[in-house]
Amino acid sequence: MTKDLFERIKTIAAAGDHLSFTTLVALSGLKPEKDFQFADLSGVSFEGCDLDGFDFSGARLVGCDFTGARIRGARFDQTEVDRAYAGQVRSDRTDLRSAFDWQRFCNENSHKNEIRSDDHLSVGAVFRDCPIGPEMVVVPGGHVAYRSDGEVRDHTFTRPFAVCRFPITEWELLTLPKVLRNARRSAGSDSWDVPATDVSDVDRYAYRSLLSSVAGREYMFLEQSHWAHVFGGGHELQFSIRYGGRQGKMKRPISRFAANNFGVVHANIPEVGAYQDVLRSF
């Protein structure tokens, strides 16, 4: 270990915890554009920090606080923002939307991501491919048997795949092209953080296409077998799947639903496989 490196370690060890993350980085001599890729920064508070120029691609950012942070110019491609768990979703989970300039960050990051390997994401990892993308959770492969249209069917998933952790929300559909977005807005919605309902085929295909283009990955809609596997959470389903989109109006925010064994929140409508939700291979 070089003398210089030892000095830097000593400086950081002696520094107070009152110093902000960016100040500590400056003292450490680490390079924001390179040294934080795939790093473990779980629990770090970025409150009020200016993160312009930081590259957090592939990093683990579980339980981080971005309140008031400036994230314009930072990269968060395939960052792991949480781990899957069953039950109520924690309120202290990493939420980039609490950043000061989140909306601006989204607007400026609708370019294609650099496609990276998924090797750093294990089963149970919760991540985003791109800022406008939904939170995805990696679910394991396995065998699933389910009933559909009076028939018993089965399917084996040989590989893990990633599926959206929450139902697609009205907020996520805000990323649609302006014409479609206005059409949805005129249809009326009181809250944007609720599962999207009455989604037309035009909207869902437009959303999938936009997402695939920005994330640089091919997103697909869930088929019945996917839904049975994801919803069952590794257990056999005791009821038939009715496959279709969500209809009517939902008022409960997605954060108030409970997750299953795979960490997937299914909005408490077990008999309906919502076909606007997305997945991607892994």
Binding site: I9, A13, L24, S28, F36, A39, D40, V44, S45
Partner: protein
């Protein structure tokens, strides 16, 4: 009036015929007038006993279809069977491999297992982050590979700390060969548990056919020592092919633990750092200190830290060719 025999499809027919016409080993096996020159359509037609116009027409238009008469003629002349699954549905590469093995009797074997490289953290040989060795599983199965991987905690140079790896990826990058038998390997690996008592090691397949990967993961302790035989099978091996096996980790999967036993001759200045109460450190300082410690391992490329590499080079050995002339 005799029933007309319909042409049937053959996958990658053009490539398979090109193999008969141009491959040196195939030409040598069925020489015409002592010539090793590539066959034109006419020569090939004469060999098989059909008019060359018929032969050429049957494969023109990119239809990839062939009449049973022509297929039987080719099979009789070149010594293969039209019942081989590789003939009708297999790729040209798979057909070529079987043809070389069954008809030409050419079996690829490893000629050498070249350089193995391990990351050293100090001059002590036993302070390796990981060591890796790949070789032939047995002489009877020259295309099955055997892997020995050892991954134990290693001391951080000059610090009373140890690097601990609980998740790593073994990657096989192949040139001129592909892995095969994935389902079989998957089943084998699923059943493979090295320490069933307390800390089982999970091994999962990933990657592609030309860049296969195995992910090792454990819950509590270091990955440990593994001897897996076979870890994979290889197909479509050509002479000069090589395979590079590397064991790497992502930065975030590297843990740094305080070492209970102090290393002899530790830097006294370092004691001040070590004596800092790690639990009292904020998350940001802990994370940055960890990144600084990791920098002792050298340059990271996109978060990868390569710990060990083993490279194999393939040669080819003729097991005795049988001539038909």
């Amino acid at each position: 009036m005799g029933q007309r025999k319909l042409a049937y499809p053959v996958f990658e027919l053009h490539l398979k015929l090109a193999y008969f016409r141009k491959d040196p080993d195939c030409l040598a096996y069925r020489k015409r007038d002592g010539s090793d020159e590539p066959r034109d359509w006419k020569t090939l037609g004469d060999d098989v006993g059909l008019k060359w116009e018929t032969l050429r027409a049957s494969v023109s238009g990119q239809k990839n279809e062939i009449t049973p008469n022509l297929a039987d003629g080719l099979a009789a002349f070149f010594g293969f069977s039209v019942d081989w699954p590789e003939w009708r549905k297999g790729t040209a590469a798979a057909f070529k491999e079987r043809y070389r093995r069954d008809v030409l009797n050419i079996t690829p074997v490893f000629e050498m297992a070249a350089a193995a490289w391990h990351r050293h953290l100090s001059h002590e040989a036993n302070n390796r982050m990981a060591s890796l060795w790949v070789g032939i599983a047995s002489q009877g199965h020259p295309q099955e590979l055997h892997v020995e991987l050892a991954c134990q905690p290693a001391e951080v140079p000059g610090q009373r700390k140890r690097f601990l790896i609980r998740r790593g990826i073994l990657l096989a990058e192949l040139t001129g060969a592909e892995t095969s038998g994935l389902a079989e390997t998957q089943a084998y690996l699923d059943a493979y548990v090295s320490r069933p008592s307390r800390f089982p090691v999970r091994i999962e397949l990933g990657g592609r056919r030309d860049a296969q990967s195995w992910e090792f993961e454990t819950d509590g302790v270091a990955i440990g020592n593994h001897s897996i035989s076979p870890i994979c099978k290889l197909v479509n091996v050509v002479s000069g092919a090589h395979a590079v096996f590397s064991f790497f980790i992502y930065s975030k999967h590297l843990e740094i633990q305080d070492d209970a036993a102090s290393p002899v001759g530790a830097d006294t200045e370092d004691d001040a750092v070590v004596s800092t109460d790690g639990k009292a450190l904020g998350h940001a300082r802990k994370a940055i200190l960890k990144l600084l410690h990791e920098s002792a391992l050298g340059e990271r490329v996109k978060g990868h830290i390569v710990l060990a590499v083993c490279e194999l080079v393939f040669g080819e050995q003729a097991g005795g060719r049988v001539g038909h002339d």
